[in-house]
Symmetry: C2
Subunit: 392 residues, 2 copies
């Protein structure tokens, strides 16, 4: 089915300048991976978010796989995670033998809180994964205080919240480790795939290049000739005296050049998304049957615009939006414990009433940055029309 | 140090047409990953090499990681591998608890043979990794016959041999599984990073999309509404009744569009490299102290041009090439058992005299496709001059 307003898998159009950046990198990058554009992008990204050290990765899942390695978990260790998130926030940890403990979300903000996390703590808890879902930065100051009290590793999944901040401190700079996504859906994207690992805990920094790039490293001694005994060494990265296996998670130079360029446009993109979100939420404020999370500050980048239908007619609403208005709404973030994947792992036990309630009544609207103003207004009027009809 | 002829980490320049392909994909791809360009690239790649099914990956190491998963190895299982190769050919298997058994290379062809592999077989052997190093296709008919006799899984690491063939059958189509690299160094490259997994054994085909993309799959039942119970399922891939963990190894749409385009230029690139290699080898045939592997057929794509210095003056040769001719030669493929990585894993026992002899006397010349004819002739004359000087 073709929609007048599809829920596009692509968030932004590239400007002529951004296209020119790619063309220039294609013509000049030598090598085409692991070169100067990578270094520049990592530095600019770290400066932008205010992190001591950032590493570009082929995607955010890869960055989370590295986080799961750096946790050095043992089977039986517990990690507190939200169930209302994308599967990549969790499965890399489950791969390591960790038991995820599902923290509920706050119904208003749709993210976990220090309180919902605290309910999940046990003597086996080793880490907390916080996801700034939809682009809203969870209450990191409170969560970090809780983690400090219990001596827990914290990982921010900032895949959707790039540029969001609390009191001037950006998402991805609170926890020990944080990941960002530069995937096709996101507010900025490096040709559809890409991610960043932000490392705030110094003890992890040194081994990450090796973990990312096949264990490659320099020899530990000075060489007289650059090829003796070999061009470079391959070694097993070590953390706390234990080996950590290497991977290949490199992001190419052209993507990195584009990433640097896109950072210049990130604030305007976020601002436009927030402006539109607030204007739509306010235009619909008389419709109490559609509840939004209104946050008119840089704490929310409105990567996605999700609402909750409170009168139980969610499915009728989506059907009518599709058939009568040709607008493709979706539902997002199936509680992870309901997927066959987690069921087969016997990880389907959860006490997350808000997660279930929200998911079963949520609707995510097409909200890609590349919607025209006309399309955006059409969307807004379509929502009104369908809500009015459902009141009859 | 800056060289007149560096050993470049980049093999090819892009044509204006190829750049335009990238620009068009940047403007039109929706989504920017896992869309129509991926499907087209996989189909064209499979048609080009003559494989039933190919899957694009973020890099060749990722494809090898999947091969290591599909082997479903148990600790103690042995896999026969060459030691004269890049570390990615081997470490994904070692990660799975496998013991690599180092097969020696043939001194002339610098790749493993059925004979050197056979010497490594034991009752514990479960698989064979064959690497078509430098772009020369190993004797796959003999190796497959050996594998069939012993019921072994075979994986071709065709990272360097794209387009190479034996009797019209291309590398990557002989074994159960094969990987190709589209990395910056390679004869064609998808913006610096990329790879392909070619699957010739049907039993593996169905689960690969899930293994590549976070376990995403369709629900097993028909749905009335596209969002109920969720937009899609996430499940644990199963092979022979056992779970195989998912990953995120996706390659973006722009890279895939470029990959399809580059396939049109692959044969001319390979032909030019082979023509140059043969002409250089023939021009230097009176210098018996520099031995090449001459193969004037499509069995060799001459991804790299490597020679062996037979009079023991390899290091003097490289030094003079650098300081007197400003040509950056390198040595490649440190026998894996000599790296700290494999030493720390106690995998440093090997009986590979040819591997050691070749490595300790080898020299790899700058041979990127983008060398001009003038640069190439300069290289040839520089080699002659330095060899002449070393004769004095």
């Amino acid at each position: 089915m073709t929609y007048k307003i599809p829920f596009s898998g692509r968030a932004i159009d590239y400007t002529e300048d951004e296209i020119q950046t790619v063309v220039t990198a294609m013509k000049t990058a030598d090598p085409l991976t692991q070169g100067k554009y990578l270094k520049e992008f990592e530095q600019k990204f770290a400066e932008y978010i205010g992190s001591p050290k950032c590493f570009a990765m082929c995607n955010a899942t890869a960055a989370l796989e590295i986080c799961a390695q750096l946790g050095q978990f043992k089977p039986g260790d517990e990690v507190v995670v939200p169930a209302h998130t994308f599967t990549s926030s969790v499965y890399p940890f489950v791969k390591k033998g960790v038991t995820p403990v599902w923290a509920d979300i706050d119904l208003k903000t749709r993210v976990v809180t220090a309180e919902t996390i605290e309910r999940c703590l046990s003597p086996k808890t080793k880490a907390i994964i916080v996801v700034h879902l939809y682009g809203y930065v969870a209450d990191m100051p409170s969560i970090m205080a809780l983690a400090k009290k219990h001596n827990l590793l914290v990982i921010e999944d900032a895949a959707q919240s790039i540029g969001g901040s609390i009191n001037g401190k950006q998402s991805g700079t609170f926890a020990d480790l944080a990941v960002f996504s530069l995937h096709s859906h996101k507010n900025i994207t490096t040709l559809g795939e890409g991610g960043v690992l932000a490392v705030n805990n110094e003890k992890f920094v040194n081994i990450i290049p090796q973990l990312r790039h096949n264990g490659h490293c320099a020899f530990s001694f000075e060489r007289q000739d650059y090829w003796i005994p070999a061009m470079g060494n391959v070694d097993m990265p070590q953390l706390n005296g234990e080996p950590v296996w290497p991977n290949n998670y490199c992001l190419g130079e052209v993507e990195c050049a584009l990433g640097t360029k896109l950072l210049q446009r990130l604030d305007p993109i976020n601002a436009q998304k927030r402006r539109r979100a607030i204007s739509l939420i306010d235009a619909l404020k008389s419709y109490s049957e559609l509840e939004f999370h209104r946050e008119d500050s840089v704490r929310h980048n409105y990567h996605l615009l999700a609402g909750r239908i409170t009168h139980g007619k969610r499915d009728d609403f989506i059907r009518k939006m599709a058939t009568e208005k040709s607008v493709q709404c979706v539902v997002q973030y199936y509680p992870l414990y309901r997927y066959d994947f987690y069921k087969k792992l016997k990880l389907d036990k959860a006490n997350c009433p808000n997660t279930d309630l929200f998911f079963d009544n949520m609707v995510s609207f097409p909200f890609q940055h590349r919607l025209t103003d006309q399309e955006f207004l059409y969307l807004q009027e379509a929502i009104k029309d369908v809500l009015n009809e459902l009141r009859k």
